[in-house]
């Protein structure tokens, strides 16, 4: 059935090409206009900030590519040297770095997937679902952020020991599969980024609550989920306190293995730095993959206000 409507042909506000041109024109104006132009002061400040931020990583490369004796010289070396791969080999020889990296990938990956999934679910519930006691529950969740991790270590270790999970990876994965910060972060994002009408449209279209979550909420929340994933992965990768209690050097994560490298009467700074560099590389890879999403998420949040 075809229905010819009066004026249908003239409904277009403007041709598509012109619409795109218009948008492009505005974007060009924004970038090239007086207000959008960065001056020398901005460039200087940004360059200095970038240098200060990147220096620790650069110093890791420099220190990791020299011998201990070269590092002890005055002035210290400021350029990378040829000993990097020797130091890598020494680090891999002195501590199970390879196994530690694999363990850390598994642990951080599992924690990241779990945290993002559970925090998004809980954040959605707290942001958009109506249920009795919602405010009180949220206050309880946020309140747990005020309890120091150290307080819960002994009971947690007793539970882990009872489960015979000491020195097992699940001992460091399960206790951190959801975080109060993540729940609060996702809730705040969804409150502002997810209009109620979108959920109502889903309900009218016949979607169940879980289908609404999966097909509507998750795509909308993706930028925030990427940010949370990045933060969670970094935190899990750098976590030292609980893994060194729950794991041993026989089955370590990267940080536990690096602690092993640093022990001894004369710590070999160059080997430690080479090991640290090895342990940092996966994090750099993750950042490269998620970087675009993260910037998108930050921008989207800014635009939505």
């Amino acid at each position: 059935m075809t229905i010819t409507l009066p004026g249908t042909g003239t409904t277009e506000v403007r041709p598509v090409g012109r619409a795109a041109d218009g948008a492009g024109g505005r974007a060009r104006k924004g970038r090239g206009g007086k207000s959008g132009k960065a001056g020398p002061v901005t460039y200087t400040v940004l360059t200095l900030t970038a240098l200060v931020s990147i220096f620790p990583l650069y110093w890791t490369v420099v220190a990791g590519s020299h011998t201990n004796a070269e590092l002890a010289a005055s002035p210290p070396p400021f350029l990378p040297n040829a000993s990097l791969f020797d130091n890598f080999a020494a680090a891999l020889d002195q501590a199970p770095i390879g196994k530690a990296i694999l363990n850390s990938v598994l642990v951080s990956g599992a924690i990241t997937v779990g945290t993002v999934l559970f925090c998004t679910l809980a954040g959605f519930a707290f942001a958009k679902l109506q249920f009795r006691g919602r405010g009180l529950l949220l206050a309880l969740v946020v309140g747990t952020m005020m309890v120091p991790t150290q307080l819960s270590v002994i009971p947690l270790f007793m539970m882990i020991a009872d489960l015979q999970w000491v020195n097992q990876l699940q001992a460091v994965i399960l206790p951190t599969l959801v975080s109060a910060f993540g729940v609060f972060f996702m809730r705040q994002y969804l409150i502002s980024a997810l209009p109620n009408e979108l959920l109502e449209a889903g309900r009218v279209d016949g979607a169940s609550t879980f289908r609404i979550f999966w097909s509507i909420v998750v795509p909308v929340a993706r930028p925030a989920m990427a940010v949370l994933a990045m933060l969670t992965f970094l935190t899990a990768w750098n976590e030292f306190f609980w893994p060194i209690i729950a794991l041993t050097t026989a089955n370590p994560t990267v940080q536990v293995a690096l602690a092993g490298l640093g022990s001894g009467y004369v710590p070999q700074q160059s080997v430690i730095m080479a090991g640290t560099l090895l342990g940092t590389l996966p994090v750099l890879v993750v950042f490269t993959i998620l970087g675009k999403q993260i910037v998108g998420g930050i921008m989207q949040g800014a635009v939505k206000g």
Binding site: M1, P6, T8, E12, V13, P195, V204, D205, P219
Partner: protein
């Protein structure tokens, strides 16, 4: 297609002592386009959301056809809704947006494609099926929202101010298209708007709400010609009907220094007990008379619209701007007086609306 019936349907929001919708009794016939209109906070959107299942019904019932859907979830009501903001899924293409409900309902891929293509043809969206909502203009988004409703072939369309985000010119164009489309499809439609022009131009019938209470439900012509009370009289029509309350005297109602003629029967019934009468007359029902012929008024402002001209005046003997006492007159745009000039207005007795000043109800 089905009838829709509200039976004493009431909604009281938590922490509110006043019902948002108060004992609404309304029947929408099969295939009818009913427009619910009223000012902000009158309960029009709430009633629509009650029908959609997005808002609880505290007391009373809602039926679609013979089915009592009062407690049914939205997906079991066989309705489709067009939201004010369109509520298009931002991550889906136009095609996916339109086919989403069908996919959830387990309709086969071939049928989904066929129904989406047909809706796209009807709405002139064929070239935009692979675009995402952000790459569409306001008018196109509005049509996608319509398309999403059409493909479901529901028993009832619900539309919640679907034109309010469009510019004035596109709004006029689109309202004609929606009205034509809905009538061709023959689907029962409930359309909510705050714009009385939309209500008058689109609806088979118009329901006027105020403070959660149904004021009148009738054809646009009847609502305009015979408003049930002072609120409806003042709300429907642009510019609004002139409404003045004055002392009932022999032969009519005193306004300023003059008397508007009202027949004895209506005068006595409307003024019973108070000695005062409220009368209303539309701007187009006044004629300019010669000096001394009619009610003398002073012209405050002249609005020249090209096809018409409107005079904003104050009756002589009444202080300008006091208690909404001004009188608006539509006149021939070729002979307009100047501000400050005194003109004489003649009312046509048959076009005078008489209301009881206490109950605000119409007196016939």
């Amino acid at each position: 297609m089905a009838t829709v019936t509200f039976e004493q349907a009431t909604r009281i929001y938590p922490r509110s002592d006043r019902p948002a919708v108060d004992a609404l009794d309304l029947r929408i016939e099969d295939g009818e386009l009913l427009v619910v209109v009223g000012p902000s906070g009158c309960g029009k959107s709430t009633s629509l959301r009650m029908l959609a299942g997005l808002e609880e019904v505290d007391t009373g019932a809602i039926r679609i056809g013979d089915r009592d859907v009062t407690d049914a979830p939205p997906k079991d009501r066989d309705i489709a809704m067009v939201f004010q903001s369109y509520a298009l899924y931002p991550h889906m293409t136009v095609e996916q947006n339109m086919g989403f409900a069908l996919r959830l309902a387990g309709v086969g891929k071939a049928e989904i494609a066929q129904r989406v293509a047909e809706a796209a043809r009807i709405l002139d969206l064929e070239d935009y099926l692979q675009r995402r909502p952000k790459a569409l203009s306001g008018g196109q988004r509005q049509r996608v929202a319509m398309g999403r409703a059409i493909v479901r072939q529901p028993q009832v369309f619900l539309m919640d101010e679907p034109l309010s985000n469009l510019d004035a010119k596109l709004r006029v164009q689109t309202r004609t298209q929606i009205a034509a489309l809905v009538r061709r499809l023959g689907t029962t439609t409930v359309y909510v708007t705050h714009d009385q022009v939309e209500a008058m131009t689109m609806g088979d019938r118009v329901a006027v709400l105020k403070d959660g209470l149904l004021q009148q439900c009738d054809t646009p012509a009847t609502i305009y010609e015979r408003p049930a009370n002072v609120f409806v009289a003042g709300f429907i029509g642009s510019p609004a009907m002139n409404i003045v309350t004055g002392e009932a005297v022999d032969g009519g109602v005193r306004v300023g220094t003059s008397v508007l003629p009202v027949d004895r029967d209506r005068l006595s019934r409307a003024s019973a007990g108070t000695g005062r009468v409220t009368v209303g007359f539309r701007p187009e029902c006044l004629d300019l008379g010669g000096p001394g012929d009619g009610v003398p008024v002073v012209v405050d402002v002249v609005e020249q619209l090209g096809s018409d001209a409107y005079l904003y005046t104050t009756p002589e003997g009444v202080q300008a701007g006091v208690g909404g006492s001004g009188v608006v007159v539509r006149i021939d745009p070729r002979q307009v007086p100047v501000p400050g000039q005194t003109v004489w207005l003649r009312t046509r007795e048959d076009s005078l609306h008489v209301f009881d000043p206490v109950t605000q109800a119409r007196v016939d």
